[in-house]
Assembly symmetry: C2
Homo-oligomer: 503 residues x 2
């Protein structure tokens, strides 16, 4: 792609003023529309060192209202970031509706720079391409506008700029040994950047290569592209076109969403509910299992394996008590229970996976989710909190999300705690009649109970469509809480042991 | 303080059950009251290595609803944390109303451990004591309940526990060389811990030393203390007693809030408004000043000096345009404009300084606040968004906050942009009449304008009470925007140069 760029394009001062003054004004006004229409925007600035990313970005943001954007500079991952999945530090920075996140360098550093400097194998490169295309598609699918710039200069131009920087006492520190080395190996980076762009140039997140020898021309191109992209996105929004429509224009050679092998799952009706444990069996087993899990937690920590435990189930199925029995075996410095309630205003203004990305554990830690991202295909589906289009695509997105976590090295264990309607009623009534439990029961619980059939249908579909070999669902018979707790502990222990053995 | 502790206290299994079963239940119920009554709680677990912090904490949180607390483990500061003020990583973790933050090790590590291992001088120790007492007082003043535990074991007991840990293949990695060294130097740590507790044992954040040889007894003490502390805090809340009342019971030998030398400030009425610049002077000066600031930004980065620029002023005084002229000179990778709007629900549920702590720059970076923490003594005072008691104490709190930033090494520059009422009216009307500026003017602006006199009174008091030698106010004549911009640039440049020269 880089070959087709004419680097000689320039603008005189007068031309620049004539062309860009109205564009700047237009962009400034458009930003207000972006806010009003609640369009979230991600803008990526990639390109050669000394291509002028900082200075161009500086000019662009001066046309914008600071209440509507944020600039993120990507440097080497810090020690906290290094303990999260690769895309984590970008995911947590995606903007809310009506806002822009501008990335000065981005996830693409982990791709073409990492490849050229031989930090990753080809297979990992391929995986990252897939991950990145998927992340961008997921954002685009939920209405994010993604604009990617690559600021292009020639080897010679880069060398001249480095020399100029190195010559001044004030800026010489900005040119490092590594920069000079990269300039010498310009062709290798060129090829890598070219290949990267080819494979991530999607219809929903296209690359715009900006000839950057002349700053004025580069700015002109950036302003025009931003305005054009925003206008088109607003038009699509106006037409109420599904953002998913855009994907079909991406050739299969560039990107096809992954398909997943699903494990056969029984329907909830087929699940027996008669398993139980005596108090003695329970106490003995609990002690044994907790001791084992405690030991395993030590190994997880040492091997830096993150564990994600997802709890779903009927109201009053016993999630809280079950979680406590797992948590009791863990060192509080190495686990966290993440209770998922209705999303806050801020969370609602972001991609729905955002709040789960934010709550991922560090390597070596355990995150126990009390309710999860599956809310999308249960409560949000049933209550109409998201569009039909959105929840229907969520199965794919969730499988992709969990695949990403699995590739990162996480153990993923998902529990569905199953009880029947009568048992739920008994437990609701017990909560009503016990003063210290009364806070646990709300009107909403009773309302949800009335929609049992709708939920059952949704849960069956969820189990059928998101039980993968890397993140299988486990249906836990929870009519007897004691049995359920031991069962969950055993499944978790098995999953961790399998992971440790596979190391 | 440690000398008075009887380490031999223990409970039999039966005694424990009898005493603690009701306590656990009570704590669990109390947590719901904490939530209802919106009491925010900070609980600190300090103490000897191997005193059982992890295991005790684990038991405590099992009695709690995970939706209401979070555990934070304090380890060495990571690379991002190291670029913020010392207390930053704790401030950002304070809980919202109705929630608890439990700290497994805390800011006290930076005090007595740092002292014993000779990482800090006595003067720095003294400063940290003052900082910590101040932070805890600020939290307490706004209604936070602070409970601090020190888990105490003897040198011999610690040695035995280390040996036991070291003996098991699974836990031997938990005992490090450093631990053994610390055990050998037990007396030094003992003395340091004792002195630390003596100097931070305040009426509003007292220490509770827990004899921890016997886990059951330790738990009993922790449960009782928590319950007692919560009940008292709820009673104080019920009585509508000002939390500030508590301070008076702290002896002066332990803590007296700092007093500050204030610079004399004119009242707004006395400020002349006739300064102006011609377009030619402005263009020439702007170019020169921006060039200089750009150069200084490089030095700031290299010297790792953080800069905090605070903009306040009348609506339409020209803050936005002024900020742009400063920002235009800065590398976008090294600065951020932080627009301060009305606080979100989450922000309202925290101490009001929380959102400003969260937005502090890294060392070497510039944060430009478009409106600031001074909202407390202006809009919040005038609109009654906080109690009179709160805004009247805010002057002291703000001076303390800025002192903390100054001690961290920050350059702090505060601007008040001054215009008169007629000029504001002209600008409001201009905004109304210019389509692309109309979004800038809201009904609220007109409402605020009607309260000009109240604001003037508040601003005069603010200027008089918060202009310190380390964070002085600069009143900028902004009737002429050009003059104001150049003036702000010059003041900022001078402040940075003074800091660099003082290095």
């Amino acid at each position: 792609m880089l070959d087709q760029v004419n680097l000689d394009q320039k603008l005189s001062k007068a031309e620049y003023k004539q062309l860009c003054s109205p564009l700047k004004k237009q962009l400034s006004v458009l930003q207000q529309t972006v806010k009003e229409k609640r369009l979230p925007m991600v803008v990526v600035f990639e390109g050669w060192s000394a291509a002028g990313k900082g200075s161009l970005l500086s000019d662009v943001i001066l046309t914008l209202d600071p209440r509507g954007f944020k600039v993120y500079s990507t440097v080497a991952a810090d020690s906290a970031e290094a303990r999260k999945p690769l895309l984590w530090r970008y995911w947590i920075k995606i903007p809310a509706e009506g806002n822009m996140s501008l990335f000065d360098r981005s996830w693409y550093q982990d791709l073409y720079i990492a490849q050229t400097e031989q930090e990753i194998e080809d297979s990992e490169w391929e995986r990252r391409v897939q991950s990145i295309n998927t992340m961008e598609r997921q954002l685009s699918d939920e209405g994010y506008l993604i604009v990617k710039f690559f600021l292009h200069i020639s080897q010679e131009e880069q060398r001249l700029r480095f020399e100029k920087l190195a010559d001044s006492k004030n800026t010489s520190w900005r040119v490092t040994e590594r920069d000079w080395k990269r300039n010498k190996q310009y062709r290798r980076y060129y090829k890598a950047a070219d290949l990267m762009m080819e494979r991530t140039h999607t219809s929903y997140a296209p690359w715009h290569i900006i000839p950057s020898h002349d700053k004025r021309f580069a700015l002109y191109r950036i302003y025009s592209t931003l305005i054009d992209s925003i206008q088109k996105a607003l038009e699509r929004k106006e037409r109420k076109e599904s953002p998913r429509e855009q994907l079909k224009d991406t050739p299969a050679s560039v990107y096809v969403p992954k398909t997943f092998t699903l494990l056969p799952m029984p329907s909830l009706q087929e699940v027996p509910l008669d398993a139980k444990l005596s108090s003695e069996e329970y106490e003995a087993e609990l002690k044994k299992a907790q001791k084992k899990l405690k030991k395993l937690h030590n190994s997880l920590y040492r091997e830096e394996i993150p564990v994600i435990v997802a709890y779903e189930g009927w109201d009053a199925a016993g999630k809280g008590g079950n979680i406590k029995r797992v948590a009791a075996a863990l060192d509080p410095r190495g686990y966290e229970v993440v209770p998922i309630a209705a999303p806050s205003k801020e969370e609602l203004a972001h991609h729905y996976l955002w709040r789960f990305w934010k709550n991922l554990p560090k390597t070596g830690h355990v995150a126990i989710f009390d309710r999860t991202w599956y809310g999308r295909v249960m409560v949000e589906r049933i209550e109409g909190f998201c569009s039909q289009d959105s929840w229907q695509h969520a199965y794919q997105e969730i499988n992709e999300f969990e695949r990403e976590l699995c590739d990162w090295g996480a153990v993923i264990v998902k529990f569905w705690l199953q009880i029947d309607q009568e048992e739920q009623l008994r437990r609701f009534q017990d909560r009503m009649n016990t003063p210290e439990k009364r806070w646990k029961i709300t009107d909403e619980d009773w309302r949800n109970r009335e929609k049992w059939d709708l939920y059952e249908e949704a849960v069956n579909e969820m189990l059928a469509r998101t039980s993968t070999d890397f993140a299988p669902w486990h249906i836990i018979q929870s009519q007897d809480k004691k049995f359920a707790r031991i069962q969950a502990l055993h499944i978790l222990i098995d999953a961790i042991e399998a992971k440790l053995q596979a190391l």
